[in-house]
Point group: C2
Chain length 408, copies 2
């Protein structure tokens, strides 16, 4: 494994973890922009723009883009979240150049009015499909409630209304404000040819004009509100909750990841023994989500309405007990093994490693080989785990219930 | 890569694809049993039994099982389908022996009455959680409708009633009828020590008593029925359809896989251009599912109720056109690249390769290196793709609609 890094004159950074023994390579453009960088008038534009990147450039029609990905057998996609928009693909090494040509070209989209109008309908369909997915609805609401008034509370998809009213020129204006080369990192992993990689990136991206990009990153301790969305069409009670946690720049993130695994991993966790094994809930999870300048623990519980209130009471009690007592040594050791092993297994696949290397770079301008990550994790003490949940107070929860219950 | 194979005296087969350059190893017990091997009285027992395997043995409590998986940092799970139940895990090479000890022990479960009673509630919770997932409900119904009267129409989860009535002794009887060593394959992939693997497997499994196991594998051309499930609580119209296709033992399965990708892959397919791009549906997919002695193409369309009938009409039209004209050379080439590349990418990870090697063995008693699989795929002609859909007639669809529409 070798880490490589360079920067184009316009500010675009190129980093790669080269592994000549891999059978494939993966690459992605990591753009530091997302729903948190939107105003209410353009809510959902980051995600809509991500779709438009696949709709062609001055050189390519929408059909060309699809066809070329298929021709090189790329495993490709893109995603938009609160603070990143990522365009990526994995191919056999011989297609590295063609993949980079395609992705690099795509990132300067034509944004044709007719494609915009057509894709707007696709976005509306995507918003509509979540109507039948209560677990997604409750996730979106908990982010809005917990981060009320904070940019991280912005909706990723936007609403039927905001998307309906959005104009092509507003999207262009957003693009011209956020997609500066200095706000983009090109990341490569796996069996890639570094010189060719930089050469092609220079060809594709060095004409991108640089400009200043800013982002507010206030901290957030959460609204601690409780919201009940009564929906009798839903059969189960779906509950999401959130508490504050360390940010992506905070070294306590390793301790926080361990805390989340011990409390709410899908097997063998405290939630598992307290809620899943005794069949009080069909789902009971806690995840840690570190972001720019702020972080959160996000939990989910889904249960029969007759047991909804009881399940939440138990989940809260588990948070409280953990905060008071911290983890046992045995729990801590098992959680470390679980996370370390899972990172190693995932890291074997270039696609799995891409997001790890990319986000290390985007959030901290650092490269941390997998072994160093694991060492940092193994070094965390039980006291540090207890300290991180206590200092952020994971009992100060914001909560959203969605389903047939009028109260929780 | 080296393929290894042996058999214990009691009939249990052990196969492995050894790859010393991998960072991890994965192994799984592939048991040739599932819902198709059940009678109506014990509907759901295969899946319930899979859960009970994690509830301990004469040597281990339920808690021990969980704890040990965590101690070795295993990425582990199990799944039950119509015709296979698979228990698997991936670990760093140094934990190979402990993983095999645990999995091997688990496969002779204690089936304690108290654990059975407790886990029955967990299963009921799992059945209940699908109430809020229309896409799962419609999948279960299309299998029941298409394979009406055929064992592949049996429900995997069973019903609240069948699970409620199930007795521990019926589960034991099912176990004693299906879990013969001759009906089980132990599969390993990745960086594994073959001699130690066989040694440990012998220690764990050679005392398993052999007995005869049978399975009926009639072919099935599908009921071609249409069923409308009116459910006004669901916002979108969810439609599933099925047509006959080649079995897992039929060499035409490669052509069928290509046909499904060209017609209904999630991007760049005919369904994509006819339904997703013009925003007539939020989902439009076609998959090929080859099984023991019978196969099927399974499709899904989800759309706004006002466009439900139109979307299905268009999907049917696409099936008809494809059956008449076959694929273009460009479509065929792109689909080959896509599938070949995706198999290579997935094959890099031991966990990804495990199911491929395992199912080749279970269904065909063969080992096919990835390169041979890809060669077989690349050799398929446009005429063969056209011929496979025509000979099975993919226009003879069984269809299930779930949602607010009274007719389709």
């Amino acid at each position: 494994m070798e880490f490589k890094k360079t920067q184009l004159d316009n500010g675009l950074t190129i980093v790669a973890e080269v592994n000549p023994s891999a059978a494939s390579m993966a690459t992605g453009f990591f753009v530091r922009t997302g729903s948190r960088d939107e105003t209410p008038e353009i809510s959902g534009v980051s995600h809509f723009l991500e779709h438009m990147m696949f709709k062609g450039t001055d050189r390519r029609t929408p059909m060309d883009v699809n066809r070329e990905f298929d021709e090189i057998g790329a495993n490709y996609n893109a995603f938009t979240a609160e603070e990143n928009t990522v365009y990526y693909g994995a191919v056999l090494p011989e297609f590295q150049n063609r993949l980079l040509d395609l992705l690099g070209d795509m990132l300067r989209p034509a944004l044709r009015q007719e494609d915009f109008d057509m894709e707007k309908n696709v976005i509306q369909e995507e918003i509509a499909l979540y109507l039948d997915r209560p677990q997604f609805r409750v996730y979106e609401r908990i982010m809005q409630e917990h981060f009320a008034g904070h940019p991280l509370g912005n909706s990723i998809l936007g609403t039927t209304e905001s998307i309906g009213a959005l104009k092509r020129d507003q999207m262009q204006e957003y693009f011209d404000r956020r997609y500066s080369p200095g706000n983009v990192s090109l990341v490569g992993v796996g069996n890639l040819d570094w010189d060719a990689f930089v050469g092609k990136a220079t060809e594709m991206c060095s004409h991108w004009k640089p400009f200043g990009v800013s982002r507010e990153t206030p901290s957030c301790s959460g609204s601690q509100a409780t919201e009940i969305i009564l929906d009798e069409k839903v059969a189960r009670e779906h509950v999401a909750f959130a508490t504050p946690g360390p940010s992506a720049q905070d070294e306590r993130r390793f301790a926080a990841e361990l805390a989340a695994a011990i409390i709410g991993d899908d097997t063998g966790s405290r939630f598992y023994y307290a809620l899943i094994e005794p069949a009080l809930a069909d789902e009971a999870l806690l995840m840690f989500d570190p972001m720019d300048g702020a972080g959160a623990f996000i939990g989910f519980v889904s249960a029969d309405p007759s047991r909804g209130a009881q399940a939440i009471k138990i989940a809260r009690k588990e948070l409280e007990t953990f905060q008071n007592e911290g983890p046992t040594e045995a729990e801590l050791k098992a959680a470390k093994n679980k996370i370390a092993s899972s990172a190693t297994l995932k890291g074997e696949l270039p696609m799995g490693r891409l997001t790890a290397v990319g986000f290390d770079w985007v959030y901290r301008n650092e490269y941390k080989p997998l072994d160093d990550q694991i060492d940092a994790l193994l070094a965390v003490s039980a006291e540090e785990v207890r300290e991180v949940v206590r200092s952020f107070d994971i009992t100060s929860t914001t909560l959203v219930g969605l389903g047939p219950l009028k109260s929780l």
